[in-house]
């Protein structure tokens, strides 16, 4: 939980090494087995557009393309209607990566874990010819043109990894605002995978609701470290908030620690219940679990990359 602990792994271990690449290849095979027959061009966008798959009718308005007037309906009803077709397009996968200072805690470091997770999911998306967007969330700003990363196809994986490697944790993140801003942005709708520890004093729920309302398909990956779940602290302490720098004097007893653990668990349970009730994918990842296991687990549970 302490900052010093998180720095150790960052300094000694490369983020993406050969083993990691082998793990990605392994995950790709696993993902293909799990998601067989549902890959490229078989996923339907919610966008209406030009394709061969009829979707609906709508009344003709001046200026519409004559080619899409359904004449057979006109003959039966004497009204002009346009035929609407479902537009087949690539799935947009948005990986919203929480880069706040709180992500830099834990052992293993949550931010390392989050980037490896993002890399794995991104790789699977690229392999499925999906459009993968890495969106670092820093200081409640979800997107800055320079910080966005868009890619398609497996060949872009190194570009994606390089992009993730350059990210750093720091600053205060207002996740709710960031998600709301993202949801109203001019993006094609798609899957919005939020990778975060969900520490927001104002609550993350409005942000997730905003994604839903804006027709995104949100998925929450909730990262927790073992040190946060059960801190090994006792005695008279001055606790310092890693993000805001605020302090709090506390005399920690076993009783108080028990209450902390209960509160922490309640927060996770509350977030899961919220997501479940709103058909939002939710996965809670303890950073002590190998990330590839986490990815496979999420794939098996569905809603991810389907």
């Amino acid at each position: 939980m302490a900052a010093t602990q998180s720095q150790t792994e960052t300094a000694t271990e490369p983020l993406f090494d050969d083993d990691f690449m082998a793990t990605l290849a392994y995950l790709n095979i696993i993902a293909r087995k799990i998601l067989s027959g549902q890959m490229k061009a078989e996923r339907r966008s919610r966008q209406k557009g030009v394709s061969v798959e009829f979707a609906d009718h709508r009344p003709y308005t001046p200026g519409d393309d004559f080619r899409f007037i359904d004449w057979s309906v006109y003959f039966r009803t004497d009204h002009l209607f346009l035929k609407l077709f479902e537009e087949e397009e690539d799935l947009q996968v948005y990986l919203l990566l929480d880069c706040s200072a709180s992500m830099g805690f834990g052992n293993p470091d949550k931010f390392i874990y989050a980037r490896r997770l993002a890399a794995a999911i991104g790789y699977l998306g690229l392999a499925s010819m999906d459009r993968v967007h890495i969106i670092p969330i820093v200081d409640s700003v979800p997107m800055v043109a320079a910080d966005l990363m868009r890619a398609r196809g497996k060949g872009k994986i190194f570009q994606l990894l390089s992009f993730l490697e350059q990210r750093e944790s720091g600053g205060v993140t207002d996740l709710q605002t960031a998600l709301q801003r993202f949801s109203i942005g001019k993006h094609k709708r798609g899957m919005a995978i939020v990778i975060s520890d969900l520490y927001d004093n104002d609550g993350v729920e409005p942000g997730l609701n905003a994604l839903r309302f804006q027709k995104y398909d949100p998925y929450v990956i909730h990262l927790v470290s073992p040190q946060e779940m059960a801190p090994e602290l006792l005695g008279d302490l001055r606790l310092i908030d890693g993000e805001t720098g605020r302090t709090r004097d506390v005399t920690l007893t076993e009783g108080l620690l028990k209450k902390y653990r209960e509160t922490f668990e309640a927060h996770g349970a509350r977030m899961e219940a919220f997501c479940r009730s709103r058909a939002i994918g939710y996965a809670r990842c303890v950073t002590s679990t190998p990330f590839q296991d986490t990815v496979v687990h999420m794939l098996r549970r569905g809603k991810l990359l389907q």
């Binding site: 709180s102 805690f105 008279d236």
Partner: protein, 631 residues
């Protein structure tokens, strides 16, 4: 309440750093966490607890101050006593008589008494002074008035029990000799009260506390044991002893008497409750040595179950008898084991005169012209050189007087002695009359320093004296007196508590040169080879005075390390045999003694309780504030 160590209150200065440390408050450990989100949520609920926490910290401080207060209080050695106002002058009379050796549980009455006195010493407050008096046969001021508890304790540790009786009268007399003092005098009597009531003249400012020690009752003990020689029979002796049954039941027990390692008598005796058993018996022994009487009775006071005596060795004296023939005189000399007789005719004597070196010569019916170099007894005839005038003969003189105080006449009964005739003699002044017939001396003695001369004014063969028991006794007495071989006095055991000077010790040594005297219980020095010459360091030295304080055999050490029994000392005290503890101080006084009762101050100071209390508070403080309660 008073305090033995008021300097301990300087410890209150420690309150300052304790409070300062509390006020300065130790710097909290700083820990950076990922978020305070959950902590604040918890602490919001715990907000009301925060004030309690502050109160707990104040309570912790108060408990720490309380621990410090209790420790300082304990170190100040408080004394709780109703009568503890002002400094006191204390006199501690510690009974060190033999009865204090009575076994009580693990120790003795004396060890209990020492503990009691130790408590009194510990209970001394600043300004108090105390004097320690050991009361045995004599009252010894072991430590004069001092305020030093340590010095008093060391003196107390050095007090030993004497094997004698108690003389509390002398101890109370010491109280009257105390210098005047403004303070009250508190007199502690630590004793079993096993002594007869003694008079006390208390001072107005004197208060008494009697601290009885012991509980054991019932004892059987030897109260007298004597061994004495029989007149004219140096190898025979008589033993007399007395045993007292100081129990409330009839007691039957065996006894045994040993001379050296030899058992000479053993029997069983029965003594009624409170009764006394006397016994006397005659014994014979070729050699001298220790005589021990043992009464086999299991009680709490074993000291008086044994008694000792010393049987002196018989020293034979060479005697030359010059006579034409005197059967009775010769027989009397031959029967005495302490005499080595050489019998010569006057002619033989004259022939051998120059070679004879006997210490005693007896000339019977004949006298040489010159006296030999030794003590001389002339019987019936003596040389003119003695200057003794001779008158007309006394016909049938009657012995009318004999000096019974003189050693020569010891044990003699000279009445109805028939003497056919005696010479009327007129003795010079240097002669003393030992036996007289009215105004005429019959036997005279010149008690010269170099030579003793006895003149018997009648011929023994013309008397029935040789047929009397008195004759050999008189012969033996005379020989021993002349040669200083009269050991009768040295058979007398010195009383317990007497101090023997070097001369008396030399008498007990009976001519043996000693370099030291071992008292009972002392370790014997390593014995040297018998033929070894004494080195310079082992040259006999003048013996110092000896205090007879312990029962048993006292032995002399020769230059070669050989041990010679000198004398024995025994308790032999009827009062000490009764070990019953007196419930009240056995004193008589015209005015009632001012008692301390329960007000007197003893060292049962509560500092230990206070120290335990501080420990308990310390544990409470640790349990409340420092122990991690794992749920």
């Amino acid at each position: 309440m008073s305090f033995l160590q008021p300097l301990a209150f300087l410890g209150f200065l420690l309150f300052i750093p304790v409070i300062l440390l509390y006020l300065l408050k130790q710097r909290r450990r700083r820990v950076t966490v990922s978020t305070l989100l959950f902590w604040e949520e918890i602490l919001r609920d715990e907000h009301s607890v925060a004030s309690i926490t502050r109160l707990r910290k104040i309570l912790s401080l108060l408990l720490q101050l309380l621990i410090l207060l209790l420790l300082i209080f304990a170190l100040s050695r408080p004394i709780l006593a109703k009568d503890a106002l002002g400094a006191r002058r204390m006199v501690i009379l510690l009974d060190s008589s033999a009865s204090m050796l009575t076994e009580e549980g693990e120790g003795t009455r004396f060890s209990q008494a020492q503990a009691q006195v130790g408590n009194i010493i510990k209970g001394m407050a600043s300004g108090d002074t105390a004097m320690l008096v050991s009361v045995g046969r004599h009252s010894d001021v072991v430590m004069p008035f001092t305020s030093s508890r340590r010095t008093l304790q060391e003196a107390l540790d050095g007090v030993t029990v004497s094997h004698g009786g108690t003389d509390f009268a002398q101890a109370f007399h010491v109280l009257t000799q105390l210098p005047p003092d403004e303070r009250e005098t508190w007199v502690y009597v630590v004793s079993d009260g096993a002594f007869d009531a003694v008079p006390v003249v208390p001072d107005e400012k004197m208060r008494f506390a009697y601290l009885p020690v012991g509980a054991a009752v019932g004892n059987v003990g030897i109260t007298a044991f004597q061994v004495r020689p029989l007149p004219a029979l140096p190898r025979d002796f008589e033993i007399m002893f007395e045993v007292v049954n100081a129990t409330e039941e009839e007691a039957t027990m065996p006894f045994e008497i040993r001379v050296g390692e030899n058992l000479v008598d053993a029997d069983e005796i029965t003594i009624p409750a409170g009764g006394t058993f006397h016994h006397a018996l005659r014994q014979f022994s070729d050699t001298g040595g220790a005589v021990e009487l043992f009464v086999d009775w299991d009680d709490a006071f074993p000291l008086d179950n044994r008694a000792f005596a010393v049987l002196p060795d018989v020293v034979s004296v060479p005697v030359v008898l010059v006579t034409e023939g005197n059967y009775f005189l010769e027989s009397a000399l031959l029967t005495d084991d302490a005499i080595t007789l050489t019998s010569l005719s006057p002619a033989d004597y004259e022939a051998q005169q120059s070679t004879l070196t006997a210490p005693v010569y007896i000339f019977d019916g004949w006298s040489p012209p010159e006296a030999p170099s030794g003590h001389v007894i002339y019987v019936g005839q003596w040389p003119e050189a003695l200057g003794i005038g001779v008158g007309e003969a006394l016909a049938n003189p009657i012995i009318t007087a004999w000096d019974q105080s003189h050693p020569v006449n010891r044990h003699l009964q000279l009445t109805n002695i028939s003497i056919e005739s005696a010479q009327r003699i007129t003795a010079p002044a240097r002669f003393a009359a030992l036996i007289e017939s009215f105004d005429d001396p019959l036997v005279i003695l010149d008690d010269g320093t170099d030579r003793k001369t006895m003149v018997v004014g009648f011929n023994t063969t013309s008397s029935d004296l040789p047929l009397r028991v008195a004759f050999p006794i008189m012969i033996a007495n005379t020989i021993r007196y002349m040669t200083d071989n009269d050991q009768t006095d040295t058979w007398q055991a010195p009383a317990m508590g007497t101090v023997l000077g070097p001369e008396t010790l030399a008498e007990y040594a009976r001519g043996t040169e000693l370099i030291a005297v071992l008292t009972p219980g002392d370790e014997a020095p390593e014995q040297q080879d018998g033929g070894a010459e004494p080195t310079e360091d082992e040259t006999p030295v003048a013996l110092a005075a000896l205090d007879v304080e312990r029962a048993g055999i006292y032995q002399g050490v020769t230059a070669t390390g050989e041990l010679v029994p000198l004398f024995a000392a025994n308790l032999s005290d009827t009062r000490e045999v009764d070990i019953t503890v007196s419930e009240s101080l056995p004193v008589t006084s015209e005015t009632p003694l001012q008692q301390m009762n329960n007000d007197f101050r003893i060292g049962a100071a509560p500092w230990r309780l206070i120290a335990v209390a501080s420990l308990l508070v310390l544990l409470l403080e640790w349990g409340l504030f420092h122990r991690r309660w794992v749920e």
